[in-house]
């Protein structure tokens, strides 16, 4: 039995819950799991749109920590955005956007855009293609997976794909890659789960004969692969063309065709969704974020390559969101950006930035919490070439939370997809537990201190947490996990941990405390 069928059959049992018998509908906080169940019965038409920012986006020039301006100025004066040009965000005086991002600023202020600060993973890898593989496969840094997180998710929803697909219940491709190609993301345990399209107009009809059995050789394996693509393409093409033709009018808010590549692609995605294509996941991409050199125009740091890219992203995202509203499908669509890594705190001499670690992610849509999740990164006063932003949230926590609250994937299934248990984050709303303000306020209220700091031979870390699962880690300046001191369930209270300087090279280290959905980071300076 497929999961959705299971939910459909078991959902009526939920009516036995007394509060419902009394006519009270599910209220937030009653029982998140019941609410999720109820949602999934009706929300099978939910869509997730992923935007890949290829090359490694410079997060510090995208979401700017205004409260650390002097550290920013010290570390990256040649690419620094003038403080008075940073776009202000309602309710978050210490955080602002790059001046190119007016559209995203508007979405943010409307509560339709959420920032998740310093997303990354332990032991960051600085290779583009390895880190892209990590982000798409949702693996650990030192683990090589041959399937992607979206592929594994789709496999749980549509087991056995592609055998028996398309069929009457599932006439459409499960996922569509439009103007982007990240095959690993959609690689399921056994098959590729996505269809790649540049425009629905390209499909021609052609005839293939009755196939002979493929030989038991590598060539036979490849032949079978091509035959599957060929057969599915012929069937799916008709559906795509139909969906495309079903829509005759879209919002006029898009830039002129051909002027913003991403906007053009997003417009096509909106059209296909509105036209009735039942694909669950769309991927598109924006390329060129690998800004080692001339990230900005020298002396005019609000212009240049990075500014243009952010402008395309912002303008495209805003036009798309407005169009979803115009088309009446705003409730059904959630969007998310990701990039293989952020960039280094300190800029280089080529008015650019080198490969770094954590960076911000954006989630957009009507059904989100909005706001900024997490705190501004804490920058060292004198950043060196080795300083990277420490991770606040593991990217897999974001994926897991989206799967849980947007596609209502149950916990046990979620673990099978994400391969381990991740921190739950408030992103989708309405969904489950805590509000974003609550998480941020509570995170702020967590107590974590180290003394003596700077540490020479040793120090104490002291923290206070509510009851729950607690993790305490030490990261080096590059963002690599050095040691895990605590990783267990603890009662509410204050705890003290002895930290030994195990010949750590000197630098600005980070202690990271995780307590359920809450987290707090503090700098620990290692000195001699």
């Amino acid at each position: 039995m497929k999961r959705r069928d299971f939910i459909k059959t078991t959902a009526p049992a939920a009516v036995m819950v007394p509060s419902l018998v009394n006519g009270i509908s599910f209220a937030a906080g009653t029982n998140p799991w019941l609410e999720a169940l109820a949602q999934s019965a009706q929300d099978t038409d939910r869509v997730l749109v992923l935007i890949f920012l290829s090359g490694g986006n410079d997060g510090l020039n995208t979401v700017i920590p205004k409260d650390q301006y002097s550290q920013l100025a010290a570390a990256r004066s040649n690419v620094l955005i003038p403080e008075n040009q940073v776009l202000a965000l309602n309710g978050y005086p210490n955080t602002g956007f790059h001046p190119s991002m007016t559209g995203m600023r508007d979405l943010f202020n409307q509560g339709k855009l959420q920032v998740i600060q310093s997303v990354g993973y332990p032991q960051p890898n600085f290779s583009h293609f390895r880190s892209t593989d990590i982000y798409t496969s949702a693996s650990d840094s030192d683990q090589v997976l041959s399937s992607g997180w979206v592929g594994r998710y789709l496999e749980t929803e549509y087991p056995g794909f592609p055998t028996g697909y398309p069929n009457a219940n599932n006439p459409d491709p499960l996922a569509v890659q439009l103007g982007a190609n990240l095959p690993l993301l959609f690689q399921g345990p056994a098959a590729q789960m996505s269809m790649t399209v540049s425009s629905p107009a390209i499909f021609d009809q052609w005839v293939t004969g009755t196939p002979d059995p493929a030989p038991n050789t590598p060539a036979g394996d490849e032949l079978t692969y091509i035959r599957n693509i060929s057969a599915q393409t012929q069937q799916y093409a008709q559906r795509l063309i139909q969906a495309y033709l079903n829509v005759s009018s879209q919002s006029p808010g898009y830039p002129a065709a051909g002027t913003n590549y991403l906007a053009d692609v997003l417009k096509l995605i909106a059209r296909l969704i509105k036209g009735g294509l039942q694909s669950r996941i769309y991927l598109c991409g924006l390329y060129g974020f690998d800004t080692h050199a001339t990230q900005v125009v020298s002396g005019q740091t609000t212009t240049g390559v990075h500014a243009n890219l952010l402008q395309m992203l912002s303008q495209g995202m805003k036009a798309f969101q407005d169009d979803l509203q115009y088309l009446g499908i705003e409730d059904r669509v959630l969007g998310m950006t990701f990039s293989e890594f952020g960039r280094r705190v300190k800029s280089n001499a080529s008015t650019g930035t080198d490969h770094g670690a954590a960076g911000p992610m954006f989630v957009f849509g009507k059904k989100i919490h909005g706001g900024v999740l997490g705190t501004n990164p804490t920058l060292p006063a004198n950043a060196t070439d080795n300083d990277n932003l420490p991770m606040q949230y593991d990217f897999r926590s974001v994926y897991a939370s989206v799967l849980k609250d947007w596609f209502c994937v149950p916990e046990n299934v979620l673990q099978n997809i994400m391969l381990q248990n991740f921190q739950y984050l408030p992103i989708v709303n309405p969904a489950c537990i805590t509000s974003i303000q609550e998480v941020n306020t509570l995170s702020e209220a967590l107590i974590l201190k180290a003394y003596p700091n700077p540490m020479v031979a040793s120090c104490y870390a002291e923290y206070e947490v509510p009851a729950g699962h607690v993790r305490l880690d030490l990261y080096d300046p590059l963002g690599r996990l050095m040691k895990t001191f605590v990783n267990q369930y603890q009662q509410a209270g204050t705890y003290k941990v002895w930290i030994e300087n195990e010949n750590y090279p000197i630098g600005n280290y980070h202690l990271r405390l995780q307590s359920g959905p809450l987290q707090k980071t503090t700098i620990l300076v290692v000195a001699r």
Partner: protein
């Protein structure tokens, strides 16, 4: 019966099957087996673009070793460079029409003309692939372009793009270590990976990282270089600048990091002492010596060659039987490329019957291969027309995701590095539709664009067979010469049905063909031509045709 059932039957019959398909046990011992059309066409397709019938016939009289010797003998002279084919579009005040622009002074820079020159370069390159003789140079140049990837849209200047290309081409069969050094100080690469901005004050790690990760030691399980090695190598590489007039590099000692560079245990804790003045350049030799002293360089390159020329799956058996001994050959030859290719293409492994047809054609294989197999005619004059025909083929391959001159990223095309799909990435719903569309066009009204029309005529190919009147024989020949894999009775019957136009008796084709041969006129020609085009279109549109 689907594939799974088919394998289940095999398993039931006791035929061994592991990890997706049967295991290849063959190694690098010289191949001495059957030498017939499938083997010859295999060698030609893998080392060139498509297998022309005339080339197959020429190699038939040689031994496998002689055939490989011929293929590995690259022409001593370099082709004449691309020329001004664009003057009708935009007058070039500095280079007359028909003359080469590659030596034009960069001070004459005009962005519009520059774009036309980049187009001219790409068209010219396609022309070389299309007209290649029986040798590996074009395929090997493409291999190096994928390996040492640069993007024309980043490099910008057409003269620099050409210079970089000519360097890869001239050294395609040379010495890998030497080539790596040339690439390191090449103007296009210095621009592409920011080497020209790498300075002592703030080392730029871009080239240093890719030099190790992509170009030399790779990221194999034993390539244990560290982040610190990236930083240290970046310091060695500081100071190289581009002379914008000559497009040669020069060494700016003031920008060079003169401190000591210390490397990890992977590099035997090598220390490269800092040097001052022009001697700072000597550090590059020390760096390359250190890198090429590791075992990983040869292994990485052999894996790259294997994935490009043989197949993308490298299991433990292939690693032990092919990669490891091939890497030994490479090291013993001090990184000369010829001995490695010689060993590989003469090996039993390369001709293993289990291995034939397993490569999915890249877009250039598909587009240019088809043109060569049908010997399409392209006007050699006027020059502008010749270039626009080449350009049409370039844009077809580009539509299918292989834009020569502009691979998507520094790691090249994903088909050659992205696990687990590798070559399969070439085929998706989008690109397969475009391939099918091209087959349709080239065998119907013609592939058109930019004022050029390219038509494939199967008649000369078919006429070269004595028994073309027999539709079964004709289909067999077409499959044998044009498919990388044998086709079963269903496919044969399906293709034959186009020759018979739906009739069931072979005599209909036989009569039509004999009528045409004996009374060649427009009517009899049309009858066979229509059916042949339909048959070859269907042949190109079957999944089998994507295999090489």
């Amino acid at each position: 019966m689907n594939r799974k059932d088919f394998f289940a039957v095999l398993a039931h019959k006791g035929i061994r099957r592991e990890e997706g398909s049967v295991k290849l046990l063959s190694g690098l011992d010289p191949y001495t087996g059957t030498w017939d059309t499938p083997q010859i066409a295999h060698l030609l397709r893998r080392t060139g673009f498509g297998a022309k019938k005339a080339d197959i016939e020429q190699l038939r009289s040689l031994t496998p070793a002689q055939a490989v010797n011929l293929i590995l003998t690259v022409p001593g002279s370099q082709p004449s460079p691309p020329v001004n084919n664009y003057n009708a579009t935009l007058n070039d005040p500095n280079v007359p029409a028909g003359q080469t622009w590659v030596n034009d002074s960069v001070t004459n820079f005009n962005p519009l003309i520059n774009n036309l020159r980049v187009d001219s370069f790409r068209s010219w390159w396609v022309g070389l692939m299309l007209n290649s003789g029986i040798n590996i140079r074009e395929k090997l140049t493409l291999f190096w372009h994928n390996h040492f990837a640069t993007e024309a849209n980043v490099v910008g200047l057409a003269q620099g793009i050409y210079k970089h290309h000519a360097m890869l081409r001239a050294n395609s069969m040379g010495n890998f270590k030497n080539l790596t050094k040339l690439v390191t100080v090449d103007a296009a690469m210095l621009r592409y990976l920011n080497g020209e901005l790498n300075s002592a004050l703030a080392p730029d790690e871009n080239y240093s990282r890719e030099l190790q990760e992509l170009f030399t030691v790779g990221k194999g399980p034993d390539a244990l270089w560290t982040e610190n090695d990236v930083k240290e190598a970046a310091k060695v590489l500081t100071g190289y600048r581009i002379n914008l007039l000559t497009l040669n590099y020069y060494f700016d000692a003031a920008q060079h990091h003169t401190g000591t560079k210390t490397f990890s245990a992977f590099y035997n804790n090598t220390v490269i002492p800092g040097q001052t003045g022009q001697n700072g350049q000597l550090e590059l030799d020390a760096l390359l010596n250190m890198i090429f002293d590791t075992d990983e360089v040869a292994k990485h390159l052999c894996r790259q060659l294997y994935r490009f020329f043989v197949y993308y799956k490298i299991d433990a058996t292939v690693e032990a039987n092919v990669i490891t001994p091939l890497a030994d050959v490479f090291r013993q030859a001090n990184y000369d490329i010829l001995p490695v290719l010689d060993k590989l293409f003469k090996s039993q492994h390369f001709y293993d019957t289990l291995q034939l047809g397993c490569v999915i054609k890249n877009p250039l294989d598909y587009v240019i291969g088809a043109c060569r197999e049908f010997d399409v005619s392209i006007p050699s004059a006027p020059l502008a027309s010749q270039y626009s025909h080449w350009n049409l083929l370039y844009s077809q391959a580009s539509f299918m995701n292989m834009n020569i001159g502009d691979p998507p990223v520094v790691s090249g095309w994903p088909a050659y590095y992205q696990q687990p799909m590798y070559h399969e990435i070439w085929i998706d719903s989008d690109t397969i539709s475009k391939r099918v569309g091209m087959a349709d066009a080239i065998l119907s009204n013609g592939l058109t664009g930019g004022g050029a029309t390219i038509l494939a005529d199967p008649l000369p190919f078919v006429s070269s067979f004595q028994d073309a009147a027999d539709p079964n024989a004709l289909v067999s020949h077409a499959i044998e010469y044009m498919y990388g894999i044998d086709a079963g009775p269903n496919t044969r019957a399906f293709l034959k049905s186009y020759l018979l136009s739906g009739q069931t008796d072979d005599i209909y084709w036989t009569d039509a063909w004999i009528d045409y041969v004996q009374n060649p006129n427009q009517t009899t020609l049309n009858i066979v031509q229509t059916r042949l085009k339909a048959m070859f279109k269907a042949l190109m549109q079957q999944p089998e045709y994507h295999l090489s």
